[in-house]
């Protein structure tokens, strides 16, 4: 998962320029052609979101916005690659126009069903089948 961190502009709901959309389209197109890209989306500003905190199992809802822009997520891409190095190569090629050339990306590996043992795999398979 490539996480594009938020900044003041994403939190202010500034929409990307046409040029940035074009270069993101070209970038995503290359990842799709390489069979790497599984999903991706942009997140609306945190003002449209909420946090639900649990203490001893009891949920408390706090509506956004949240002030720590640097800690927030502004978008993500889910990619499937052979190695971490390959993922980093893709991240280095992130469109330079984004964030006016200043952008912070975070790469995180996803768990696979195999990480949870046989019983969990059977359950995941079952869920996947029912989803279809």
């Amino acid at each position: 998962m490539i996480i594009r961190k938020a900044d003041d502009e994403t939190e202010a709901s500034m929409m990307p320029t046409q040029e940035l959309i074009d270069s993101m389209m070209a970038y995503n197109g290359e990842m799709i052609k390489a069979g790497v890209m599984l999903d991706g989306a942009g997140l609306q500003a945190s003002s449209k979101g909420a946090r639900i905190s649990f203490a001893k199992g009891k949920p408390t809802v706090t509506d956004g916005p949240f002030t720590e822009a640097k800690e927030l997520v502004a978008g993500f891409s889910i990619i499937e690659v052979e190695s971490k190095a390959e993922a980093i190569e893709w991240m280095k090629r992130w469109p330079q126009l984004d964030g006016h050339g200043n952008v912070q990306l975070e790469l995180r590996q996803l768990f696979s069903p195999e990480d949870f043992g046989e019983e969990a795999i059977a359950q995941f398979d079952d869920l996947a089948k029912r989803k279809k």
Partner: protein
């Protein structure tokens, strides 16, 4: 409308502690309910940040920093993508995420946090904002694709 429900990281997730069987079963049941309601689009757990990296772009240069990252509270441990009719409905789902009240579960000490964030939809990229046919065609194709794959 689509929302992302984000589970924040904690010491246990960052240490690579696997969830208990009890919690895993509770999560399985919760996911099944999301599926039955036609709300679940995707869900995944993230490995500790030690297996990840950050790439910082600044002034045309990129710098790679390998994990782990110290600010546990800022990190993500997992997420769901859900399709719902309203933010209220998303909040209701978020309230029902299984947390072990006696902790530690997915979280430390029975304290956990879900962050709910709305996703941009193809319809947000209007022709008014983006007059080019190419952009409009791309977003309409994405909308069609999502309708097909999510139904």
């Amino acid at each position: 409308m689509r929302f992302m429900m984000i589970i924040k990281a904690d010491k246990a997730t960052e240490a690579g502690v696997m969830p208990t069987e009890e919690l895993l079963v509770a999560m399985g049941k919760y996911n099944e309910e999301l599926i039955k309601a036609g709300a679940l689009l995707a869900a995944d757990g993230l490995q500790p940040s030690a297996k990840g990296a950050r790439v910082r772009h600044a002034g045309g240069k990129s710098t790679v920093i390998d994990g782990p990252f110290a600010e546990t509270k800022e990190l993500i441990a997992g997420f769901w993508l859900i399709q719902v009719k309203s933010k209220d409905e998303a909040v209701e789902w978020a309230k029902r995420v299984p947390f072990d009240p006696n902790g530690p579960s997915a979280t430390s000490d029975g304290i956990g946090e879900i962050e709910l964030r709305q996703l941009y939809e193809a319809a947000d990229f209007t022709r008014e904002l983006y007059p080019s046919d190419e952009v409009q065609q791309m977003f309409s194709a994405e909308g069609d694709f999502r309708r097909q794959t999510n139904s």
